[in-house]
Amino acid sequence: MGLNAMVSEVEVFQIVAMFIKILVVVMVCMTVPPLMVWVERRAPALIQRRKGPNRVGVFQFRIWGLMQAIADAVKLIFKEEIVPAVANRRFFHIAPMIGVIPALLTASAIPFGPDIELFGYVVPLTVINVDAGFLFILAISSLGVYGITLAGWASNNKYSLLGSLRSSAQMVSYEIPLGLSLIPLVMIFSTFKLNDIVVSQNNILGWGVFLAPISFFLFAISMFAETNRAPFDLAEADSELVAGFHTEFGSTKFALFFFAEYINMFVLSCLCATLFFGGWQIPFVSHDTVVGILQNITEDYASLLAALVGMLTLIVKAAFFMWFFVWVRWTLPRFRYDQLMGLGWKFLLPLGLFNIAFTALIIAWRTF
């Protein structure tokens, strides 16, 4: 057959494996926003000492309010799509897509688990396994700003435009401390590839957060600003500027923006866990120990099960950071816009530069 001449067996296997990985990543990313909707309503209830929505149920199964999230999703889908008459049609339809695509692309670059051995081939558990690992993530997430900018412009609405410009300026400004905080990590771990960084963090004292604490501090703050989450959510908060750049966007388009925001949060949480908290590794247990334990149970699929365990660990760590996002949102008041920009440019940027110099000095001192 002609196909055999073009692609070899290895490539067919890798292509099929890639499709399966893409499917897994997309499914995980698509279940995060509905779960987060539920968390966003029950967590503030917990923090504010009340009960959140817990009435919606199907056949008396209320599942602590998860049905509310499903009801919200169904409502969003069935709402009427309204396009304002004076809006710029082309960009109005495209903007949400431009918001979601970078979010999903960045999600595909995160290592969800260790390399697995299937049928004799080594399959890395990342869809995109480039040499310039998290540089790719930074680059693609900087394209996500276009969704917001074009959304505000397409709405042809003063408040939308102002909100979107403020949002984009904020996101672009906080990309700098984000990038600067990751440079000392590159210096310490000597690689851009995320999987190698995870593998280097074998014991708990080798975790990124202990090797580069200022980096973690900078990254944690920039994480909030990059996703337009409180306390940096002036541009899209409910009590300011109506709803910022997504005022005019109805049902499915709003759902897409919503998804983009939560997937961004999820990706940054996973990135934080990967870079600073050991990624898919369980704290005091090395990967080989896990494989050893699992080999006692089943011979063939030990590495596969170990990968599943790794995935679960990463998801638990990312879940902790998602909870952190929600916790901070419902605890801290929001920044005024000029305070926000002043913080980014006048405090975090010099701190990031100082951090790089400091880390370089320590590395030089330890080497010589």
């Binding site: 693609i140 900018t149 412009w153």
Partner: protein, 174 residues
Amino acid sequence: MGATLLFGIFAFLIVACSLMVVLAKDSVVSAVFLVADLFVMACIYALLGADFVAAIQVLVYAGAILILFLFVIMLLNLDIVAARTNAGPLEIGMFIVVLIGFGILVVNLLLGERIELLPPGDSGLSITGKGNSYDLGLVLFSKYLWPFEMASVLILLAMVAGVLIAKRGKKKQP
């Protein structure tokens, strides 16, 4: 074979996007097509073995500079300006010269001698085995250290100049 197909797709996209950049009437449409153009260029750079530069192109060029363009267009709320209809002999002359140059290059493509690219993973393009970023860092900070420092001074100058030029003048005291 796959690489050639990919290059063909990217080349077609670049041709389409470049034409749309210069032919679109609305500046925002131009800017968005330029972003698409830069993104496809980054894909071609990655295909040609320059992953770090590709990432930097998206991060800096498509992700910051063009957002600056979009900001200026949106903040100034610019009207659509029609294309030039009063092109003088100077413009037409320059255009014909560039057209002739392009024609010469096309003829060279069709009839001239082929210059082959190095196959991927060649030893010249990867000095150590540790990836493009590592090698670029080695070369940048040894052979090109002076231009690197000058570039940082240049960026500082541009920042100061940008702020000064765009600042509103002081309001005169009554």
